[in-house]
């Protein structure tokens, strides 16, 4: 076997290894040795986990991106701040509202209403009231009783008998958990609890009891989030499975997807959408597994003046909804 090494090129003489630069010995000894940051993962402090998101907001990123307030017709909102804490709002809506119907055809009812609202916002107390020309009153109260205990009251009062609703919520925020107790009219009692299991994962459960109909239910939820993504899942004994996934592609762009299955109504829907939050506008669009396309644009024309465009197109049911409006004030 011949040697593959060519004898013609003699190996170059080994270069003298450069002597270490003369550094002050004291400095080299004083500085700590350079650590390779990527080798060691951050150590988790299991006794100091972050406080989780409230149970009812577990899918909030997906809801914000995929469920804008689409409307059909004209919408005009005006908010006037009277002082730092108190503001009044006037809203006009003229258009069609969808009425749920048994048949597959959509039933639209032309509606027009004016809504007057008053808001009081304090760091510890929030009061919001809205009254409409069709006789409905909405009221919301949020009060921080202590640093960790919050009370919320929601009420919707109507002219029609037996259609009014009210609900009391008591929220307790712990170091790495949250719990809530709900008491509503029609003998509704509910509670939920959510706990941080790791810095990224939180698990929760809810239970409710409807007194008048003698129905109860239990549900479980999980939320996994990192800096770039949020994945949630919810299962309930009422036959609902809801999954969602949100990917934060950049500071201005989010992509979101959700899946909802309802066993009782045998209905399953999935949607995929985008959310662009730019300096002058916010654009959200989505496509559905039922073939429905929707888009919602809020364009900032001036300081405090926003122009709104809403579109929802369902070719299969031949249902086309286009709306435009303006929002003045914060």
């Amino acid at each position: 076997m011949g040697s593959s090494v060519s004898h013609a090129a003699a190996p170059p003489p080994p270069l003298p290894s450069p002597s270490p630069p003369p550094s002050s010995v004291g400095l080299a000894a004083a500085l700590p040795p350079k650590q390779d940051e990527k080798a060691e993962p951050e150590k988790v402090d299991w006794l100091n986990l972050p406080c989780p998101i409230p149970f009812e907001e577990i899918q909030r990123e997906a809801l914000m991106s995929l469920k804008p307030e689409l409307f059909e017709g004209l919408r005009f909102d005006f908010t006037k701040g009277l002082n730092q804490r108190f503001s009044l709002s006037h809203s006009v809506f003229m258009g069609s509202m969808e009425v749920p119907s048994q048949s597959s055809d959509t039933l639209k009812v032309p509606t027009a209403h004016y809504e007057f609202g008053a808001n009081f916002l304090d760091p510890k107390l929030m009061l919001v009231g809205r009254v409409l020309t069709d006789g409905r009153l909405n009221a919301r109260v949020k009060c921080d009783l202590t640093d960790n205990l919050t009370m919320k009251i929601n009420a919707q009062l109507t002219n029609e008998p037996h259609f009014s609703q009210g609900m009391f919520n008591f929220d307790y925020k712990g170091t790495d958990f949250r719990s809530q107790l709900q008491i509503g009219n029609n003998a509704f009692y509910g509670g939920n609890y959510i706990q941080s299991i790791s810095p990224h994962l939180s698990l929760g459960t809810e239970i409710f009891w409807l007194g008048h109909q003698r129905k109860s239910g239990i549900g479980f939820a999980a939320r996994y989030n990192t800096d770039n993504m949020v994945a949630t899942g919810q299962v309930a004994s009422t036959g609902i499975v809801a999954l969602s996934y949100v990917q934060k592609v950049s500071e201005k762009v989010s992509l979101a997807s959700d899946f909802m299955y309802n066993h009782l109504t045998q209905d399953v829907t999935s949607s995929f959408g985008y959310d662009y939050i730019l300096r002058q506008c916010r654009l959200r669009g989505k496509i559905d597994s039922n073939g429905v396309f929707a888009a919602f644009l809020e364009e900032r024309l001036n300081m405090g003046v926003n122009f709104i465009l809403s579109a929802e197109v369902d070719h299969r049911k031949k249902d086309y909804k286009f709306g435009f409006g303006m929002t003045v004030g914060e």
Binding site: S257, F259, S270, F272
Partner: protein, 54 residues
């Protein structure tokens, strides 16, 4: 011939009952479409999401 059906035969029977029945197929096709859209959108978001960044 064995009288009891094997698990493979049970599976085939279950699948054919779900596909041939009109009502069940209507729901199953919606379920497949929705699950497919959800899974495909997650794959797209994770692998090609950067293309939509500004």
């Amino acid at each position: 011939m064995a009288k009891s059906s094997t698990s493979m035969e049970k599976l085939k029977g279950f699948l054919s009952s779900q596909i041939s029945d009109e009502e069940k197929w209507a729901l199953n096709s919606k379920l497949l479409r929705a699950a497919g859209l959800f899974a495909a959108s997650i794959v797209l978001m994770r692998n090609f999401g950067d293309l939509m960044a500004i």
